[in-house]
């Protein structure tokens, strides 16, 4: 396969691990990658026969142009941010929870069980509390299931959590067509939540955004200042190291996945009681997947996730604007998010390594 003759020759480019790069330079590389990804997206837009700068401007305007659209953008960012925080709990310990979608859905169903059927019994405050607790419990248990199997037998969690998404989706379709079907409706759908039980709006958006901001700070403290947060980091580095250090890895898996699923479940409740007021197959709407990219782009830092989720919400909201204005399909946001993430994944290499051309001496910084 390989010819031995070429081995003596120095390769055209070789890579050397950098000692450390100053944070300023590292962010410069990331910014360059980000701009390159927008340029690549722009080329795609150009190939479709539109002016990329106009399209980008209309995207930004579509997301921030008026108070109505700002509310819509924040409404998209809230579930994204909380789900991303939830998923980062699992991802920090290298537990690939891609079941955020399903955990959101079961959370919404659990909240719906109280919101739709006990609204005439309880006053608003206890009802909202009940919905919250129910969604946290349901999402948590849905996340716990794969963690138990992973801890006990090493079952592949990626596929397990993913399959749970489809099961939750089928269950909601069943509720829509059967037991929870709205009375007198010929179309399979679930009743609306009565207005008295809907989440109160603060500054035009349901209070979920305040909760999201609190969770950002709480998650930061949990990850960096608590023993449990430290255990997550050690398990993420190496299961064996954690075991030698006396950490009960199975317990960490279970506890953390319960939190991860619970946060996603909470999102389901917020979507149900604060945004949609009903449950459909679209209640999760891909948030569980997009949140993965949010968490990763932010390097699992909750404050970073705040910025990234607002940015992604802008792309998603803005892609609706360009659909009406330029007739570019709204799936463009997925395409663009994919491109941006490819570039951000790739640029990390240039932060840890440098390339040296043939014949150039190696300079030590």
């Amino acid at each position: 396969m390989s010819s031995h003759g070429t081995q003596a020759k120095e390769p055209l480019l070789r890579m050397v691990k950098r000692d450390t790069l100053s944070p300023k330079k590292a962010w410069g590389i990331r910014a360059a990658a980000f701009i390159l990804s927008l340029v690549t997206g722009g080329i795609v837009i150009l190939c479709l026969g539109h002016n990329p700068i106009n399209v980008y401007i209309s995207m930004v305007k579509g997301a921030w142009g008026s108070s109505t659209v700002i509310h819509e953008t924040v409404k998209i960012a809230v579930p994204l941010l909380i789900t991303a925080i939830g998923i980062s709990f699992a991802f920090k310990m290298k537990f690939w929870n891609i079941g955020g979608e399903g955990q959101i859905l079961v959370g919404a169903v659990a909240a719906g069980a109280f919101g739709l059927f006990t609204a005439h019994i309880f006053p608003k405050l206890p009802l909202v509390l009940l919905m919250m607790l129910a969604s946290i419990a349901a999402g948590g248990i849905y996340g716990l299931l794969p963690a138990v199997c992973k801890a006990k037998w090493g079952t592949n969690e990626t596929l397990f959590t993913l399959m749970l998404n489809y099961i939750a989706l089928a269950f909601i379709k069943y509720l829509m067509n059967g037991p929870w079907k709205a009375k007198g409706s010929s179309f399979p759908k679930i009743d609306m939540l009565v207005p008295g039980a809907r989440l109160t709006k603060v500054l035009g958006v349901h209070w979920g955004w305040i909760l999201a901001l609190i969770l950002v700070a709480a998650a930061y403290i949990y990850f960096n200042k608590t023993k449990q947060g430290y255990e997550i980091a050690v398990v993420g580095e190496s299961n064996n190291t954690a075991r030698y250090a006396g950490i009960n890895v199975g317990k960490v898996f279970r506890r953390t996945m319960f939190i991860s699923g619970a946060l996603c479940g909470l999102v389901g409740m917020l979507q149900f009681a604060g945004a949609d007021y009903t449950i459909t197959e679209g209640t999760a709407g891909g948030v569980g997947f997009t949140a993965i990219t949010v968490a990763w782009l932010a390097k699992m830092n909750p404050f970073g996730m705040l910025i990234v989720s607002v940015f992604i919400a802008m792309l998603e909201r803005g892609s609706n604007a360009i659909q009406t204005q330029f007739k570019i399909p709204a799936s463009a946001s997925d395409l663009l998010i994919g491109i941006i993430l490819f570039f951000m994944l790739g640029c990390e290499f240039f932060i840890s390594y440098k390339l040296i051309r043939r014949g150039k001496e190696e300079h030590h910084a």
């Binding site: 089928a170 946001s333 997925d334 998010i337 994944l345 990390e348």
Partner: protein
């Protein structure tokens, strides 16, 4: 009863073929030590490009005043879908092999990108075509069941074995060739060495980078063909929004059930193909349709848990799967 079973078998083969193609692509990829979770995305990319390839070919021929050739149209769909899947896998390979990005996240990103790619261009081409994209009857004919002289007319066995569309035989042939390739060919054995222990393979003079790139890119191309099956056969040449809808992920799961063996892959794909369409053939009284729809996913979880409970060294994932190889950190 017998005719129901025959019908179920035929439908299972038809529903299992895209799963088999996706799983074969992923087996080839994982044998090189790359865990590419982007199967769903690559299938989406193959689905839209295959459809678009045939569609634009037909448009071009019609504009020139000729009549499209079904065989040529099918060949174009095959090539474009392979290239699209391979292109997706090339992005993945460049990021994970050359730039050493995390395999899990890169694969998930490829799924998000590919899903967006498929739906975006599906809608866009539909808009241009004035509503939706659909291929003509000529191309549809090229993807319908074959009529092989003599063989197709054998009673019982004919419809059961010899009347499928050509992609079914293509998938089976790919599985057989791949099984031979892994166990009998020198290159296949080298590839397995790369996946099991890249450091040892590197020391033995095997070009790790080239093997990983080739296996991943060709594997991605095969996944792309599986996606093309979804848009050309399953939805009969019409673009349906979200048409792959989880088949790519089922294919990833099938790799585990097939214990990384292409030959067993055929059997598992048949079983799972059967599970996805069983609702139409076997009625269980009192079971709502939506609950019935859960069956393949519940079965996947059960098999996942059971296989993880009885771990065997012989039928395991290639040892280095999911880990990037850094020669300097050996």
């Amino acid at each position: 009863m017998l005719s129901t079973l025959n019908g179920l078998f035929i439908a299972a083969v038809l529903a299992g073929t895209p799963l088999l193609l996706g799983a074969l692509g992923e087996i080839l990829t994982e044998k090189s030590g790359n865990l590419n979770l982007g199967v769903e995305g690559m299938m989406f990319m193959g689905a839209i490009t295959g459809l678009a390839g045939s569609y634009y070919y037909e448009q071009a021929v019609a504009a020139g005043g000729g009549s499209p050739n079904g065989f040529l149209s099918a060949a174009i769909a095959l090539i474009t879908s392979f290239l699209a899947g391979a292109g997706g896998a090339l992005i993945y390979s460049f990021l994970t092999i050359t730039l050493r990005a995390n395999q899990n996240v890169t694969g998930l990103t490829l799924t998000i990108f590919g899903t967006g790619f498929g739906n975006f261009f599906g809608e866009y081409i539909g808009q241009q075509a004035g509503g939706y994209v659909a291929v003509s009857d000529v191309t549809k004919g090229a993807f319908s069941g074959l009529d092989i002289p003599v063989l197709s007319d054998i009673p019982v066995l004919g419809p059961l074995l010899f009347r499928y569309n050509w992609l079914v035989y293509f998938a089976v042939a790919a599985a057989v060739i791949m099984a031979w390739f892994f166990s009998r060919s020198r290159v296949g054995l080298n590839l397995r060495a790369v996946g099991e222990d890249p450091a040892a393979a590197d020391a033995a003079g095997i070009n790790i980078t080239m093997y990983k790139y080739l296996a991943t890119v060709i594997g991605g191309g095969i996944c792309g063909i599986g996606g093309m099956y979804m848009s050309m056969v399953t939805t009969s040449g019409v673009w349906v929004h979200d048409c792959v809808s989880g088949y790519g992920w089922l294919a990833v799961a099938l790799v585990i059930f097939a214990t990384w063996s292409p030959a067993r892959g055929m059997l598992v794909a048949l079983i799972f193909g059967g599970l996805t369409i069983m609702r139409m053939y076997i009625n269980i009284p009192g079971l709502p349709a939506q609950i019935y729809d859960m069956v393949p996913y519940v079965a996947t979880i059960i098999v996942l848990v059971v296989t993880s409970m009885r771990e065997s060294k012989e039928h395991a994932q290639p040892k280095s799967c999911g880990l990037n190889y850094f020669r300097e950190e050996r």
